[in-house]
C-alpha cells in the first residue's frame, strides 16, 4: 500500500513522460507501431515487450519515490504546514468534492503535479528501460533501483511544495501553479538528478515562480475553475462537484494547458546557468525575466484554450483524455521553439517589420496549432475505444480501474471525484495520457499542411500510445 496514492500515480506519469520523450513507439522489421495483443479498450494478454518493460521500470520509480515521502495527511503534512492531500494511515486521497474551500483540490493538483513534472524533468531524455534479450521468453532484466534518486527528489519536493498553503492567494491558483510547475519541468529537463537545495537552485527556480505570479496577474479570475472572489479573493479552485463535474473537467484541462505552454516555452532555457555564474543578487533579473516573458505565456494559453473540450455534454468518448491528448500535443509541438513573437505587421496591405512583439492570442499561429492538436486528440479519443464509465465499463476492460467519465443522455463529461479512489484514478489516467502524448509527439515538425489537421494522420501513433496507455493503467493505484 503506497504512502500517497496520488503521488504514486504522479510518479508513473512523470517517469513515462520523461523517459519516453521523443520516442515514436514503433519498431520491428518492417517498422510498425508497437501494440499489444489486445484491441482497445481491452488490453491483450501479451503486451508488447517494450510496454511491459516500461511499466516495470515506471513502477520501480513510483515505489521508490513513494517510499521516500511519508503520508501527506493532516497529522503530518508533507512538507509541514502545507495543505494535506491524503488520509491518515491509508494514504488514500482525501475526498476533494466535499471540501467547499477548494483547498483539498488545490493541494492535490498542485502537489501531485509537482511530483509528476519534477519526475518528468529528471528522467527527460533518459531511458532506463531494459528490454529482454533476443529471446523474448527470457525473464526481464532486474529493474534499476532508484532509492538514491528518489531520496533526492523527495528533498526537492519538500522544499518546493512549501507554498501549497491555506494562505495562498492569486487570481487562479491552479493556473499560477501550473505555470510554475511547467517551468520546473523545463528547468529540470535533462538534469542527471534533482539538484541540491542550495542558493543556486533556489534562485534558478525563483525565475519560474516570478513568471507564475506575473502570468496569474494577467489572467482574470476564471469563474469556471475558481471560487467566486470575495474579499479578499484568494483564487482557490471550485470544489469538483456535479454530475458530470464541470469544475473538474475545466480545472484538469486548463491547469494542464498552462503547464504545457510554459514547459514548451522554457524548455532548453535553463536559468541554472544564470544563477550559478552570476555573483550578484538576481532579484532584478528575476523580475525582468517574468516581465519580459509573461505576455507570451498568457497569449499562448488564451489562444489555445479554444481547442479544449470544456463541455460536460461532450460527444467525445472521454473529454478528460481528449483534453490531455490536446495539451500533450501542444507541449510537444511547441517544445523548445522560440515561439510567441512576431516581427511583422500588415498595415493597409503593406508588410512592415517592427521590433519583436508577443503574438496576440488570436494570431493564426495559435489557431493552426489548436486545430492540429484537436485533430490529434480526436484520433486518440477514438482509439481509446470506449467510454471509461461505470455504465459502459471501465477502461482497460476488465482491469478493475476506477472510471473517469460519466454519461448523461448520450453525452459525456468528467466524473466528480466523490471518493479518494476516483480522484486518484482520474489524475493518474489523465496524467498518463498527457505524458504519453507529449512524449511521442515531441520533436515533430511544426504544422504545415492539410494532413496535420486530419485525424487519420495520427492513427498509427494513436494506436501505439493507447496500447501503452492501457498497459500502464493496470499499474496505477487503485487498479
Amino acid at each position: 500500500m503506497p504512502n500517497n496514492n496520488l503521488f504514486y500515480n504522479a510518479a508513473i506519469e512523470g517517469y513515462v513522460a520523461g523517459s519516453m520523450k521523443g520516442r515514436v513507439l514503433a519498431g520491428g522489421n518492417p517498422i510498425a507501431p508497437l501494440v499489444n495483443s489486445g484491441t482497445p479498450p481491452a488490453i491483450g494478454t501479451t503486451p508488447d515487450p517494450s510496454f511491459a518493460a516500461l511499466t516495470l521500470q515506471a513502477e520501480t520509480w513510483a515505489g521508490a519515490l513513494d517510499a521516500a515521502i511519508q503520508t501527506d495527511d493532516s497529522a503530518s503534512p508533507q512538507p509541514a504546514a502545507t495543505i494535506p492531500t491524503g488520509t491518515i494511515s491509508t494514504g488514500v486521497a482525501i475526498i476533494p468534492s466535499t471540501d467547499a474551500t477548494g483547498e483539498t483540490q488545490f493541494a492535490q493538483l498542485a502537489k501531485a503535479r509537482l511530483i509528476a513534472l519534477a519526475s518528468l524533468g529528471i528522467f527527460s531524455d533518459r531511458t532506463d528501460i531494459q528490454l529482454p534479450g533476443v529471446d523474448i521468453s527470457e525473464p526481464f532484466p532486474v529493474p534499476i533501483v532508484y532509492t538514491a534518486r528518489a531520496t533526492k527528489l523527495a528533498t526537492f519536493y519538500d522544499e518546493f511544495a512549501l507554498s501549497v498553503i491555506s494562505g495562498a492567494s492569486a487570481n487562479n491558483l491552479l493556473l499560477s501553479f501550473g505555470c510554475a510547475w511547467g517551468g520546473f519541468a523545463a528547468l529540470l529537463s535533462g538534469s542527471p538528478t534533482s539538484p541540491p537545495i542550495d542558493t543556486t537552485t533556489e534562485e534558478a527556480f525563483a525565475f519560474a515562480g516570478a513568471l507564475a505570479v506575473a502570468v496569474d496577474l494577467l489572467i482574470p479570475f476564471d469563474a469556471t475553475i475558481t471560487i467566486n472572489p470575495s474579499t479578499p479573493s484568494t483564487g482557490f479552485p471550485l470544489a469538483p462537484t456535479g454530475t458530470p463535474s464541470g469544475p473538474q473537467q475545466g480545472q484538469l484541462a486548463k491547469m494542464r494547458l498552462m503547464e504545457s505552454v510554459t514547459l514548451a516555452y522554457l524548455e532548453n532555457r535553463d536559468t541554472f546557468g544564470l544563477s550559478a555564474q552570476n555573483q550578484m543578487d538576481l532579484s532584478d533579473a528575476i523580475t525582468a525575466f517574468a516581465a519580459a516573458n509573461k505576455q507570451v505565456i498568457v497569449n499562448a494559453y488564451t489562444g489555445l484554450t479554444t481547442g479544449l473540450d470544456l463541455s460536460t455534454t461532450s460527444a467525445h468518448n472521454n473529454p478528460t483524455l481528449y483534453n490531455e491528448a490536446y495539451c500533450g500535443f501542444v507541449a510537444a509541438v511547441l517544445a523548445a521553439r522560440p515561439f510567441g513573437y512576431g516581427t511583422t505587421v500588415i498595415v493597409d496591405g503593406v508588410v512592415t517589420t517592427v521590433p519583436p512583439f508577443p503574438l496576440p492570442s488570436s494570431d493564426p499561429f495559435y489557431t493552426a496549432i489548436a486545430a492540429t492538436a484537436a485533430a490529434f486528440a480526436l484520433e486518440v479519443d477514438t482509439t481509446v475505444g470506449g467510454i471509461d464509465s461505470t455504465a459502459h465499463g471501465t477502461i482497460p476492460t476488465g482491469s478493475g480501474t476506477q472510471p473517469i467519465t460519466v454519461t448523461n443522455a448520450g453525452t459525456q463529461g468528467a466524473v466528480s471525484p466523490s471518493t479518494g479512489a476516483l480522484q486518484t484514478a482520474q489524475l493518474g489516467k489523465t496524467g498518463l495520457m498527457w505524458g504519453l502524448c507529449r512524449a511521442v509527439q515531441w520533436g515533430r515538425p511544426l504544422v504545415g499542411n492539410i494532413d496535420d489537421t486530419t485525424p487519420s494522420t495520427y492513427s498509427a501513433t494513436a494506436e501505439s500510445l493507447v496500447a501503452a496507455y492501457l498497459q500502464l493503467c493496470t499499474v496505477l493505484i487503485p487498479s
Binding site: 507554498s163 492567494s169 499560477s176 543556486t200 533556489e202 483564487g235 555573483q279
Partner: protein, 116 residues
C-alpha cells in the same frame, strides 16, 4: 571567499627564440653563434586578436578593471562573495506574490464598494 584578488597588470612575457646561425670549431672548443629574435605570439587569440591567457587560481582582476566594474555598481566585496544569500528563493517569490495579490484584491474590493 577570497579567490579573487586585485593584481596589477603585468606585461606579457616576451619569449625569445634562439636560432643557430653558425658553428665555429677551433682547436679544442666549439663556438656557437646564435641569433635572438622575438618569438611569434601564441596561437590563442581573442576575437579582437589579443593574446589570451587563462587566469591561474586564484583569479585575478586588475585595478583598472575593478574601477570599471565599480562604475557599474559592482564592488570587490560582491565579487568575492560569489553567491549571497540575499537572492529570492522560489518560495520567497510565491509568498510575496500571495501577499501582493491579497493587497491588490483588498484595494480593488474597497474601490468597488466606494463606487456609487
Amino acid at each position: 571567499m577570497s579567490d579573487i584578488v586585485v593584481a596589477t597588470k603585468t606585461p606579457a612575457p616576451v619569449r625569445v627564440q634562439k636560432t643557430i646561425v653558425r658553428v665555429v670549431t677551433t682547436q679544442n672548443r666549439r663556438a656557437i653563434i646564435v641569433s635572438t629574435k622575438k618569438a611569434a605570439k601564441p596561437p590563442v587569440k581573442s576575437s579582437k586578436g589579443q593574446r589570451v591567457t587563462s587566469l591561474p587560481y586564484p583569479q585575478r582582476i586588475t585595478a583598472g578593471a575593478l574601477k570599471i566594474l565599480e562604475r557599474r555598481g559592482i564592488t570587490l566585496q560582491q565579487l568575492r562573495t560569489r553567491k549571497p544569500s540575499t537572492g529570492p528563493s522560489f518560495t520567497d517569490v510565491m509568498l510575496q506574490g500571495f501577499s501582493d495579490h491579497k493587497k491588490l484584491a483588498a484595494k480593488n474590493a474597497a474601490a468597488a464598494v466606494s463606487k456609487p
